[in-house]
Symmetry: C2
Subunit: 955 residues, 2 copies
């Protein structure tokens, strides 16, 4: 070792000597607490908190996330004194449990689990039943009096350890899990069907076979020393922080690599020691509706994995839920009691204990909890608690209820609902009047109503999404590997698992419609079909089905949907609080009177973008538009435009009337003219006949208008400059409409917006012409409506020169769709071929057309705001790109001082809530905390808890 | 009048009382001087300077440009004391001339001319012979003893005044000039052919007819009071500052509106008083070659207009020039003496005087002068002197000669040549070997060699340019109205006029090939043909001809051209001085070994852009490239690329060898893949046969690759990200070439450049891969060439995030073509439909693809340089867009601290000179003046004098 290395080592030793790396908990005491979740990870911190609260928690200790960072910084080594601290922690567990780790007759068994600052469900690895070897297994037999149980534990442990710690995965895509293959061979040899039929001896033989396989594949014998096992498992957990799944997940969720994971080592308790044992998951309120009712699933004589893996369909915790299920399945009360009695009736003491604990936890955390528990011979143990993920409806209901229950205040309630979640409340519902062919009924796991083609694998779903086909992913069950496919699908349908299955949790997190546990369907992956049990009906990949995620119903074919409204009293209460708080105004992008009505009903405070060209496509108008385009002279164009003016005027009257008293920003004609010509030769020929012109002339015109890069071509104000008559006609229509309404006593606030301005002079020229037309119309109509003239900021140059352009503009509106395309040099229409690679390789943190590229486009916007307002104080500035409905972008718009955001009508409530969030986050950043309770903030809960795709097969 | 107006008037009066608005000159004295050209305009300032020098200048006075500004600021009024100052000035002129303005027997006649700070030839108006009426004309008869002369002056005056001051223009496009119509009618009535055949009575009758027409058309009688005439003319000159032609000209030449024009009122002298009178234009050196020889044209018994209007072909000033002309025209010495004797022989005294004055003026101004003179009965008068516009060859020769003559220093010499002018020295010359059909010979007016279709009007030339047809504008003569058409044409051919005709001057200014005075051609505008006199050969509009502007030859059809070199000793001297001075390095954009050779011969100090995709098109390679594109798998692509690597390697060996010791920036593959597929269905079918694949597959591939906006699509480093094998193959080829050359002792400096980077992470990923390939090749080849890895800055986001991107880049190169397209949202390919409107309406000061948009794109660049160097001190930064060869852009690049510019090989000398100019301009801006003589700087001369299109029909 050279001197440098020695010095480094000494420094590290010195520094680490002062550190506590291991936090113990158990027997009503804990070194840690919930607020230390940044150091202990969510699992370890909450176990410590529960221990402190005096709740029954198996004793254990948590190795901190700092050790994880140390492990990666110093070449997979540990701080020198870690081993002493672990030994001390182990002693305490042994003392509380009265057992000894590695002891031949009274052995302590341990679980080793990961736990990051925020939940990363299923992303990292876990080892259970650690401490077993050929000696200690006899001690477990002595403790349990159950050799079969002991060998089953031993078998599970070796299998899990081989997989997780020693990396024994299938060696090729076609190879099955090697352990499962040995089990299958054993079953075949013993001519049995189920695992449960194995005898203790069978299981013992499996342990030997597993160990042999491990030795053969890895070249080293299976470690029998429990301490070696423990350090191997700890290392494996730390290593799993950087496995491919975890890295991808962190990138998707913007979790910093430096956070690291903690490792929680805990005494094992067993829910599989017999029929007086059970294990389960409980939620303190209904995660679908938000109703204040304890609920959840459990399994008798099982370990935790069995509940969440969806292999056995679990029983309900409450009697009422069990009875609802029976009603749904058409099952008699007798049958129900026989097949799936509730915990409430089967283990009433356990149920009462659980209920009390649930109440304690919810009151303590002031939020809905998602609890794991195990009952070992009637003794209830708490294995985990965390903030529960929930549907948007539940999030809103719980947040508002908890304000009424005085658990939180209004501002906390607002933060409890992630704005994007509201999308779920705005999801379409099935048209109640439409004819439907119901083919099955499952559990309503995530609301919404969707139709799509059946696909049977995540890969197929991803592939379909690339070609923009809408698909429903149909699986027996889903696993964390399926996340991308689930995201790509319109909806999820599984035939196994309950409301807490992976499929259900992830779908809710994604706000994606899902029906789970639909057991009447039989999937044949090989044939790519599913059959409706007991019928001849077989559907194939590619067939259309429709899901109703709110009822759990599955229909054949496409069922029409209709738009829902956010009209529950709790939604209204929450939005009222949000509106009171926010500074940003929220407008809608609406081109039609109908859109304008919808927007207003969703709370829009104006129209931020009314695209006039859409009006050009309606009905017969396209003929007049084409006549205008084909005219070779100004006179010809004017003649054609004169036909269009009265039609546009009628549109403007309807829209301005619908938005009475509110501003309506009307964008003048924007697209290139060739977009209005027929694309196929056949259509061109028809048009020629209709217009009585030679088809050759139309061909020529199409060729003349053809553009290599139309986005950067002859469009927007460039048309206004070269063909002044087009804008003049539009402005005439707008002002005539405004005058007419004004005369009849209706207040109208039209804002005339010029698109694609890059140079001040463009706007000066057009502004002069527009103002001239307005003055003429006003003079002739005898009414004086207020109006203003402004510009889009959508060309990068316009942002760079905002100080100059502001001199000619009454307002700015950021057109962030085009601004993003030009600033990033990225055509949205053409980026599909590489965007997935760009997101997966971390070049784009997210799709820049979905959420503003803050570093690039955002910087341009921020400086344009400053420059514009430096020249024109109080310049009104908004955004009308699609980013106006994206919560992160709304927050940014708030921070740079925009006056309003404008988004599609269905995103108005999201933007309203996001604008309120922005105020609260700003207050927090400035040191004001809206939280009433320390614990609610420090539990690491993500507000609303619903934005992470989730599963917890290995928590 | 309200109080405000009164106060304003008082203020104006008070301020203006202190001001001198009128500057007199004459009789060896002057109030003004050349350095006051900002106040007096160029004409007035130089007349004052000449008067001070004691040269024979008709006395006069100049009303300042401040009066022009006053005139526009205060509603076309004058400062109150102006009239008194004008009266005083008039007294002095009367005194010097011994005549009285408006006097019946001894009248003083005046000229009233415009004069802006820089010459705006023919843009503003002039009135001659002012002061004539029915009384004073008799005085003029008395003075001249020549009634016909007097009435001809009167006729000219009324006609000119009617046109310029009273606005009597043709009333419709089809109407001819109304005065000319009266003249034609008179000729018909009198049955005569030429104006010269009119008697004094005829002319008197014309005056009456003109006045009658004026009264009829304008409703007011012609002003007979000479003072009314004077103020009318002064007002007309000021008004002409804002006529349409002048406004357009100022915009094109970036002349501020606030400069205004002066008005010079000067005593008339007459070159048309008889055969002992003459008028002419002289140049102190040869404006075509730069030879130190007085030269020019004159006409006996003529007024100035007659020389420049090209109506009569003038005689030569020197005997040598006259003889050269005779030689060219195959004219005997006797014939020559008879038809066009030189001034030198016809008026030897006048010639000697002129020669002496020319010498005085050139020494005084230390630059070549363009002089107007008139000889009235043997008395030589100087009417104007100004810096002469000249060809590039002459500019270089004069500048270098004048250094050798100790008239100027090297730095002044450098500033004397406008970098853009060098283009002329680089113009193609006709292939000497090519067969040619000579059809005519004219005067070599502006060098170069061009071919094009014949057009007969400026409008046709402009229209042709819009469709990118190359045309030659063929005219009897040109006028200032033709400027746009001349600019649009490849070359100019006129059948009348000499080396100082409008056509010649403007063409030289534009650096456009021109042949003038080609009298053997007879143009028939109506038939749109010209006939070669004395032959049957008739060419029509649309026929191809070729001009040689260096010999004056005109050829039928297209004659192949070959590239010239800048190899004159004076060019070499000038470039050596420039190279010594400049800081910016100059590289070339070169894709082939041949281009690289040419670039080096032009002084390129490296290659700034070697586009590798061009190599993909050569010969059979396209097949391998298409095979790669059509491959559906990585393996398939790699297999195809393996065929391309050896070919590219051979290219890189040649290029790197040609640029031994100099850096070569190689840009990795950039264009979208679909550019390599055949565009027509027929070609696609052929390709399918060639590759033995179904044509349907190729159709599908083409559809898959189709992009709506390919510029913003899947290209550049995006291909590198999605198909790593493409860049890996290219880098392999580059490094294998570099290693091979290094092993054989040749120093190579490859710089590997990644295109279209927008995000730091793109460059990080690719840099890692590129460095890995380089390391592998180096390891396997046993040679260690230096190399670096950098990026284009061509996406706006890259410029905005330059600080981040710099961390992963060894160098930046601004790709200003794409940066301009994206920042301005402007597709170069598609902008043709509106760019002309944009330039003509002043939205773009110039084509942003020709000269950098400094306010927008420039701002991005400047901030990117700062950001990049803040992170990586001394980061090497260049530019490789086409702006790298534009002088204004080069200056900007110097100012923002770039290390080099890179441009097309033929623009390398321009960039070298521009870089030297940038240094000198910077020094001047910092207060250091390179000028040796005040007068050279203060004469308002544009360095080199050659960039303004010019004519002087009304100077």
């Amino acid at each position: 070792m050279d001197t440098d290395t020695q010095n480094g080592l000494q420094k590290r030793q010195k520094r680490s000597r002062r550190k506590r790396y291991v936090y113990s908990f158990g027997a009503g005491q804990a070194d840690g607490r919930a607020s230390l979740n940044w150091l202990l990870g969510g699992k370890g911190a909450n176990l410590a908190e529960m221990a402190e609260l005096g709740l029954p928690v198996p004793p254990g200790m948590t190795v901190t996330t700092e050790v994880c960072n140390y492990y990666y910084t110093y070449g997979h080594t540990y701080p020198p004194e870690l081993s002493q601290q672990v030994r001390t922690g182990l002693r305490r567990i042994e003392k509380i449990m009265g057992r000894r780790f590695g002891h031949a007759t009274n052995p302590l068994l341990l679980s080793v689990r990961s736990g990051a600052r925020v939940s990363m469900p299923g992303m990292m690895d876990t080892v259970l039943n650690l401490g077993l070897n050929d000696k200690t297994v006899h001690g477990l037999i002595q403790q349990s009096g159950n050799p079969r149980f002991a060998y089953d534990c031993y078998r599970r442990f070796v299998q899990m350890y081989g997989d997780v710690v020693l990396g024994l995965k299938p060696q090729s895509k076609t190879e099955r899990d090697p352990f499962e293959r040995i089990i299958e061979e054993k079953k075949a040899a013993r001519e049995i069907e189920h695992d449960t039929q194995f005898t203790a001896e069978d299981l013992q033989a499996l342990v030997s076979a597993f160990k042999g396989l491990i030795h053969e594949r890895s070249g080293i014998p299976f470690p029998d020393d429990p301490h070696d096992q423990l350090w191997g498992a700890v290392g494996a957990v730390f290593s799993s922080w950087n496995n491919a799944r975890a890295v991808t997940y962190r990138r998707l969720e913007n979790i910093p690599d430096e956070w690291g994971t903690g490792v929680t080592v805990q005494a094992m308790v067993f829910g599989n020691l017999g029929d007086d044992c059970a294990t389960g998951v409980a939620f303190t309120r209904d995660l679908s509706t938000g109703a204040n009712e304890l609920n959840g699933d459990f399994l008798i004589n099982a370990q935790g994995e069995d509940v969440v893996a969806g292999i056995r369909t679990p029983q309900q915790i409450t009697l009422s839920a069990s009875r609802l299920r029976a009603q749904r399945e058409g099952c008699s009360e007798e049958e129900r009691k026989e097949r799936y009695p509730a915990l409430e009736e089967q283990m009433p003491d356990c149920f009462e204990q659980l209920k009390a604990i649930a109440h304690t936890l919810e009151a303590h955390y002031s939020d809905v909890q998602d609890i794991e528990f195990t009952s070992e011979h009637g003794q209830l143990w708490m294995l985990q608690t965390r903030t529960a993920k929930r549907t948007a409806a539940a999030a809103v209901q719980v947040a508002v209820d908890m304000v009424y229950e005085s658990l939180i205040n209004e501002e906390q309630a607002i933060l409890r609902v992630a704005p994007a979640q509201l999308d779920q409340l705005l999801h379409p519902i099935l048209d109640p009047e439409a004819p439907k062919e119901l083919i099955a009924r499952g559990l309503p796991a995530s609301p919404g109503a969707v139709s799509g083609e059946v696909v049977f694998s995540a890969e197929d779903a991803e592939a379909a999404a690339q070609t923009e086909r809408q698909v429903i992913l149909v699986r027996i069950e889903t696993s964390p590997e399926d996340i991308n496919g689930m995201n790509a699908a319109e909806g999820i349908l599984t035939t196994r698992g309950g409301a807490s299955s992976h499929a259900a949790l992830v779908s809710r997190g994604m706000g994606k419609c899902a029906v789970v546990g639909c057991e009447s369907l039989e999937i044949d992956y090989a044939q790519q079909t599913f059959q409706v049990r007991g019928t001849d009906l077989i559907l194939r990949a590619g067939d259309l089905i429709t899901l109703d995620g709110s009822t759990g119903e599955v229909f054949r074919g496409r069922v029409p949907t209709s738009a829902p409204r956010m009209e529950s009293p709790s939604s209204k209460a929450l939005m009222t609080w949000a509106d009171r708080l926010r500074r940003l105004r929220v407008r809608a992008n609406a081109d039609t009177p109908r859109d304008a009505q919808v927007a207003r009903s969703f709370g829009a405070e104006g129209i931020g973008l009314c695209r006039t060209e859409h009006m050009f496509f309606e009905g017969d108008r396209i003929d007049a538009v084409r006549e205008m385009i084909l005219a070779d002279t100004t006179i010809g164009r004017i003649r054609a435009l004169e036909k269009i003016v009265p039609m546009q005027k009628a549109d403007f009257i309807s829209i301005l009337r619908a938005m009475e008293g509110l501003p309506v920003t009307i964008r003048l004609f924007d697209p290139p003219l060739h977009e209005f010509l027929p694309q196929t030769d056949k259509d061109l020929e028809e048009l020629a006949n209709k217009l009585h012109v030679p088809v050759a002339r139309l061909h020529t015109k199409r060729n003349v208008l053809y553009e290599l890069n139309p986005m950067l071509g002859h469009r927007g104000c460039r048309l206004g400059i070269t063909f002044p008559e087009i804008y003049e006609a539009q402005v005439t229509a707008i002002m005539e409409a405004a005058c007419e309404l004004t005369r009849s006593g209706i207040t109208v606030l039209p804002e005339i917006m010029v698109p694609l301005v890059g140079h001040k002079r463009e706007l000066e020229i057009l502004r002069k012409r527009i103002a001239h037309v307005c003055a003429e119309v006003i003079a002739s109509q005898g009414a004086t409506p207020q109006y203003s003239i402004g510009t889009m900021i959508e060309v990068p140059r316009a942002a760079l020169r905002a100080d100059h352009i502001a001199a000619a503009a009454d307002f700015f509106s950021f057109g962030t769709n085009d601004l993003t395309q030009m600033t990033l040099g990225l055509s949205r229409d053409d980026s599909g071929k590489f965007l997935p690679d760009y997101v997966s390789q971390g070049i784009f943190p997210q799709d820049p057309f979905g959420s503003l590229d803050l570093d690039g486009v955002g910087e341009l916007m921020a400086s344009a705001v400053k420059k514009g307002r430096a020249v024109r104080e109080g310049l009104k500035i908004g955004i009308c790109g699609e980013h106006g409905g994206d919560p992160a972008s709304v927050e940014f718009c708030h921070n740079i001082g925009l006056d309003y955001v404008s988004c599609s009508p269905y995103r108005v409530p999201i933007a309203r809530l996001a604008a309120a969030h922005a105020v609260l986050k700003e207050q927090m950043a400035n040191g004001r905390r809206p939280a009433r309770k320390e614990s609610a903030k420090s539990s690491g809960a993500i507000p609303g808890g619903g934005v992470n795709p989730s599963g917890f097969s290995q928590r």
